[in-house]
């Protein structure tokens, strides 16, 4: 009896197209297809193809536009330290350095804070506090970059110049990172403002990753006598790949950030160890000089910087997405 039912279930001998579950994918194999269905499917498919080809098209467009510069400077473009539009000699190293230095400085400040927030939101805060607090922190992500820049120029930079840099150079001036004149505009200001800007994304994704750790992990560690903090440490350890992904997403954001950094970093293509010295980032040089670029070689050098920026952010983002995906949708 049971066997018969089972057999009946295993081999449904119903007519074609009338499978057990009318899923969308099952329907498309039915022989009588509605013309509208075909048109609809291929219309949407066409747009999906557009989106997929957009990235390739973007890369191709920039490659074509920057070809003169790529051909002329080759790999030397990456290691050249002079940026001289008059002599038509372009090297991107100061900008790559500026981008990396400001982004890592931002991560250095934002990462501990974001982790603290994520732990607070996912492990400690009661739900009546968690939701408004998450909303406020995500509000930070909604403020346009230009408004950060405006605030940076008129509030943050004067404050750094008067209250942060003088004591730092007074007490720690012997260290190379705190050497130089306190202008306010420079790497420190850029790093600070970037850290505020990437904080929401790192914090909110870390929170999601922490929340994806099963409740039983917490219960298990508490049951064998761990304190709350020791249990959180174990959870952080479980979530580390997702947190790394969140960090990389923040890094990607910081690398591509343009306006706020341009307005506070000082915009001078130098490589300096001091946080007080002005710098220049890849995004800033494009923003500042693109409309002033008069010769085609100048423009193509700027577009080559844009390609570099594009490739770096794409690689960082791919890594980040893979890590976050596996942490929140995979086994955990």
């Amino acid at each position: 009896m049971l066997l018969v039912i089972l057999q009946g279930e295993i081999s449904p001998t119903v007519g074609r197209g009338g499978g057990a579950i009318p899923r969308a994918s099952a329907l498309k194999t039915s022989p009588k297809r509605n013309l509208g269905d075909v048109v609809f499917k291929y219309t949407t498919l066409m747009f999906a193809v557009i989106v997929l080809s957009l990235i390739l098209l973007m890369a191709y467009e920039m490659y074509v536009d920057s070809k003169p510069s790529i051909l002329k400077f080759g790999w030397g473009f990456l290691t050249g330290t002079t940026w001289d539009p008059v002599q038509e000699n372009y090297g991107a190293l100061p900008f790559v350095f500026g981008t990396m230095a400001s982004s890592f400085l931002a991560l250095l400040i934002a990462l501990p804070l974001s982790l603290g927030i994520a732990v607070f939101l996912s492990e400690m805060a009661p739900s009546w506090l968690e939701r408004p607090l998450s909303f406020l922190i995500e509000l930070l992500a909604g403020i346009p970059s230009i408004v950060y820049g405006l605030w940076g120029i008129f509030i943050l930079v004067p404050w750094i110049r008067s209250s942060i840099e003088p004591p730092l150079s007074g007490y720690l001036g012997s260290l190379p990172i705190f050497r130089g004149a306190p202008y306010g505009f420079g790497m420190l200001a850029a790093g600070l403002i970037l850290s505020v800007m990437i904080l929401p994304i790192v914090a909110s994704i870390s929170r999601d990753v922490l929340k994806a750790v099963p409740q039983s992990q917490r219960e298990a560690s508490l049951a064998i006598g761990a304190t709350k903090w020791e249990s959180i440490r174990l959870i952080l350890k479980d979530a580390r790949s997702g947190i790394l992904g969140a960090t990389l997403l923040g890094l990607g954001r910081a690398i591509g950030e343009t306006m706020a950094v341009t307005m506070v970093i000082g915009n001078r293509p130098t490589i300096s160890a001091s946080l007080f010295d002005p710098g220049y980032t890849m995004a800033s040089v494009i923003a500042n000089e693109f409309t002033e670029a008069t010769t085609s070689m100048y423009i193509s050098a700027l577009i080559e910087i844009a390609i570099l920026l594009f490739l770096i952010t794409i690689i960082v983002n791919m890594l980040a997405r893979l890590l976050v995906w596996s942490a929140t949708r995979g086994k955990l």
């Binding site: 009318p22 969308a24 329907l27 498309k28 509208g36 269905d37 048109v39 609809f40 499917k41 219309t43 949407t44 747009f47 999906a48 557009i50 989106v51 997929l52 973007m58 467009e61 501990p112 804070l113 982790l115 603290g116 927030i117 732990v119 400690m124 805060a125 406020l136 922190i137 930070l140 909604g142 403020i143 346009p144 970059s145 230009i146 408004v147 950060y148 405006l150 605030w151 120029i153 008129f154 509030i155 304190t227 903090w229 020791e230 959180i232 954001r253 591509g256 950030e257 306006m259 307005m263 995004a283 693109f290 844009a306 920026l309 952010t313 794409i314 960082v316 983002n317 791919m318 997405r321």
Partner: protein, 287 residues
């Protein structure tokens, strides 16, 4: 038998470390709110002086003259956002529909992944690309180029929210439609999309809020314009580029107006986000 719990020094140390770390993490949440408060405080207090009717209906005045407004920039921002939406929304929405309805295959997940990656592309790069796509062939800066740059930035957000919202529609809705003999595409358009509509609108508004605040992709596409223009063929003013120009300028009156423009921009974006919250709340209330 009596069990005695004798706290050791080690126990107190563990408790203390825990207490310190938990306090620090609660504190970091407070620290994060400080810049938020400061930015809102300064934008409102500095921008309030010039916030009057003139700001919305008058044109910018030359240096030295007091007053004037940014009517052209406000309209310019609206034109740019509208252009970006006209290009970006269909692409985003249709791709979202494809991913939700037909995207359970390798091609679908590739598109999904690439959309996520596209959302991380810096906005300045979108500007450079739009420069290559539009400005070079047209040989001059234009509002259209700005719109193209903005559309590249909104496609990922719209695609992913559309997909997620369609996936939230219960499968029984589709089955009910199909069981009545309605073709699949009509089921999708008239039943599934209609159910997911509030969610999709949310995604669209979020994307619009994002592109309305963009500056970098407009610098060398839409360029900016001190005069009245709504033509797609001409350079066009925008609030964000005005903020940039006025913030860098060495005139105090202009600096103040930059703050006012920032205030107006934040108000515009807040209205959009508030609408999103209201829409999503009424959506949750339905359930």
């Amino acid at each position: 038998m009596k069990t005695v719990f004798a706290p050791t020094l080690r126990y107190y140390r563990r408790k203390l470390t825990g207490g310190v770390m938990l306090t620090l993490s609660a504190l970091s949440a407070v620290v994060a709110l400080i810049p938020l408060l400061l930015i809102f405080f300064y934008t409102i207090s500095q921008g309030f002086d010039y916030l009057n009717l003139d700001f919305f209906i008058k044109m910018p005045k030359p240096v030295g003259e007091v007053g004037g407004g940014m009517a052209n920039a406000i309209v310019g921002t609206l034109v740019l956002v509208a252009t970006g939406s006209v290009i970006g929304l269909p692409i985003g929405i249709f791709t979202g529909i494809y991913l939700a309805e037909f995207g359970n295959n390798k091609f679908g997940s590739t598109v999904r992944f690439m959309t996520d990656v596209l959302s991380g592309v810096p906005s300045i790069v979108a500007g450079v690309v739009a420069y290559g796509f539009v400005v070079i062939p047209m040989k001059h800066f234009s509002a259209l180029a700005g719109g193209v740059a903005l559309s590249i930035l909104m496609i990922p957000t719209v695609t992913r929210t559309t997909e997620e919202m369609i996936r939230l529609v219960p499968h029984s809705y589709r089955e009910a439609g199909l069981a009545l003999g309605i073709p699949q595409w009509k089921t999708t358009v008239q039943i599934v999309l209609r159910t997911a509509f509030p969610g999709i609108v949310t995604g669209i508004l979020l994307a619009i809020a994002r592109i309305a605040g963009e500056t970098a992709p407009l610098l060398f596409t839409a360029l900016g314009n001190r005069f009245w223009s709504t033509s797609l063929d001409q350079p066009i003013a925008s609030l964000t580029v005005f903020i940039y120009d006025y913030a860098k300028a060495p005139f105090e009156g202009w600096n103040k107006q930059a703050w006012t423009a920032a205030l107006v921009l934040i108000m515009l974006i807040s209205i959009l986000s508030l609408t999103v919250r209201i829409v999503t709340r009424s959506r949750y209330a339905q359930r």
